[in-house]
Symmetry: C2
Subunit: 417 residues, 2 copies
């Protein structure tokens, strides 16, 4: 993983605006009736006045939501060009016989009202799997949705894609490329069924940078690997996971067409936004009370570091112990031990840390004496770090997740009702 | 998987006696003080008057409990011969600097009091990881433990290996080989940290059949694959998993030295006992209210069938839905879809069933209309079957697990205290 040092972050400023932070992007969200709670938006539109180079990554689940199949087809048809996103919550439009037809219809509705081609529309849905998507509410409200598009509509859109999320997730940064002020921002949803494989949940990222489709794709794949793909709420890889990244070039920079300083700068902005949203997703995991971050250092290679970090973050036993604020480090060792990677467990050191300090709990694969009192204090915080040194290499990696609580069981015991 | 038809089970009778069911085996268990609850046994001894051919499989976790390392060394030294098992609960003797020394000491204590060699002793521990095992309680009580060995001591021994288990697990069968009456029985423990990989939890199986070390090993490996290795409580593969199988030959049958009718008959007995204990383990999973069985049929091969069944059984979202008695079949499809195997998801059919009947919920990978009322009735039972037809081959496989409940979180929020 590319280490992000403080110095490298210089030149980036976090800004408001989410998907509307970048020039030329407008958004809107409203309740069209899919969600009986009228205060909760259930459909959104994101629109760029200029055509965007667009890259996307999708779930590796064999069961793919119909919107995934349709979006993939659209981007193939246009060679990675798009002007709009339409997305709904409350219904995943997955495992339905008429799924693709309905997803195409959503694209048509957006295209008609915006005066663009249906294949220039990215389509996404999230919610219950296997229930027929009613299209009428969307047909009825599409004009109102488009009429309300505004450069400050990002919050309404972010609200529309929330399901069991308790908070909206938005992030954006401003930076410079060759004297031009650039912005990159996004919104995400996701709370359960999160164990991404190539992508996660729904994530829409927009930028005004000018960058070629190839370099856009490259940046997205490389950053997904060390952000969303290092996130696990419950080990369930969703059927509808998608990240789309649209860049309309309105910042006026010289187009990025190869690796180099400008590419690195853009990739860094993308990393900062996606890392922020990854942490937001982890912290808002279903029923979560704590954000867990596991960092693995001195690993033989990056893949091993990430595999070990994800194995720890995924362990239900560790997640319960963190909920109980119990420094049961044996469970950390256990989860390190069953990670599917090759390394010598006898060299491993482990620390627990938070704003309250750091405590060493394991040295060379064996327990060390530590103050239970100090450990309990550390674990009482709502952001916990599990730091692991494999002591057999130079590579590092991180993963994010949350604790496993009564509320996770409650939320998922009867999700459909 | 070898399908077990009713006819094939003829000739087998379930009997009492657990590890003492077979001739020549005695057992005992008592509280030596590791567990402050004096009513709960915490150490046990199993002894065979004749030397046993002994096979064992161990956890694949890189973190291996010291007793695993010591047992492995012993069986290598003796060429797979043993006469006794000593096992304790409350402390896993894992990740301790003096772990192997203590595990060897346990073997010595048992060997001294029984007048056998230390390497003829199988050693096992279960409980908290990373706390020093106090050896004094074992030294103080070893004579009393040996003095109490009896052919009806199986229940005391089974009690001694329980941790968060709410019920002891024992099973035994009687059958005939060439006119000789044979028995095979065992005991198991395990409730959490269960997602076996080559073995699970602690399992001790004894038999009076005469069988060569090679065939014993072969039978154990093949049956573990379709029983314990198809069990998942929480996806955590323990550091101390072990199954040992001891056969002392006292039944007087002609030694089994090759595949054939006698081997099949022995393997079947082993299958019946291990399948019974696998279900007991699943049903008594930490906090569980329901036993879940997932059977996959018409798969391209057995490995695919088992991978799909285990993927479904492991899904936290499905486990919560089963706890909530919610027929959220989309989660079943989702878990089938992320199983790491190659097949066409578009041909898959799914049914939910229990003693209350069967309901079809998915056909050709898409939802079908079904009565929610009938489904709710089916899911109200405490043994639920999820039946999956892949419709692309002849192979089948099963996996077992349980629901995910508030009590799982409660039990594991503070396991150490």
């Amino acid at each position: 993983m590319k280490t992000i040092t403080k110095t490298e972050r210089e030149g980036y400023t976090y800004v408001e605006g989410g998907v509307c932070a970048a020039r030329g992007f407008t958004a809107n969200g409203l309740n069209c009736g899919l969600n009986p709670d009228k205060k909760k938006n259930d459909v959104c539109l994101v629109y760029s006045e200029s055509v965007c180079n667009t890259a996307a990554v999708y779930t590796k689940n064999k069961v793919k939501g119909a919107p995934i199949l349709v979006t993939k087809r659209h981007l193939e048809k246009t060679g990675g060009k798009a002007k709009a996103v339409i997305a709904n919550s409350k219904n995943a439009n997955t495992c339905n016989a008429d799924g693709e037809e309905k997803a195409e219809r959503m694209a048509e509705l957006a295209a008609d009202v915006l005066g663009i081609k249906p294949e220039e529309v990215v389509v996404a849905s999230t919610g219950v799997i296997g229930q027929i998507l009613p299209i009428e509410p969307l047909e009825t409200h599409i004009k109102e949705l488009a009429a309300g598009l505004s450069s400050s509509g990002n919050a309404k859109a972010a609200n529309a894609i929330m399901t069991t999320d308790t908070v909206p997730k938005e992030a954006a940064v401003e930076f410079k490329l060759g004297g031009c002020i650039c912005r990159l921002g996004g919104m995400a949803k996701g709370s359960g069924m999160i164990h991404p494989n190539m992508a996660t949940t729904l994530n829409f990222i927009t930028s005004d940078v000018s960058i070629s489709p190839e370099m856009l794709k490259k940046a997205l794949s490389s950053v997904v690997k060390v952000t969303y793909n290092c996130l696990s709420i419950d080990g369930d890889t969703s059927t509808n996971d998608m990240v789309s990244l649209m860049a309309n070039g309105l910042a006026g920079n010289a187009e990025i067409t190869e690796e180099g300083k400008d590419y690195d700068c853009f990739r860094e902005a993308l990393y900062l936004v996606m890392e922020s949203m990854t942490k937001m997703l982890a912290k808002d995991g279903e029923g979560a009370t704590k954000l867990l971050e596991c960092s693995v250092s001195s690993a033989p290679d990056e893949d091993t570091a990430i595999l070990v970090a994800k194995s720890v973050i995924r362990s239900p036993l560790l997640k319960c112990a963190m909920f109980g604020e119990d420094a049961n480090w044996g469970r950390i060792l256990c989860a390190i031990g069953y990670a599917e990677a090759e390394f010598d467990i006898g060299k491993v050191d482990v620390w627990l840390s938070s704003a309250q300090g750091t405590v060493s709990v394991c040295k060379n694969g064996a327990g060390v004496e530590f103050s239970e009192e100090a450990a309990a204090k550390i674990l009482s915080e709502d952001e916990i770090k599990i730091e692991i040194a494999l002591n057999q290499g130079e590579a590092s990696g991180r993963a994010w997740g949350c604790d496993l609580t009564y509320d996770y069981v409650k939320i998922n015991g009867d999700y459909r009702s």
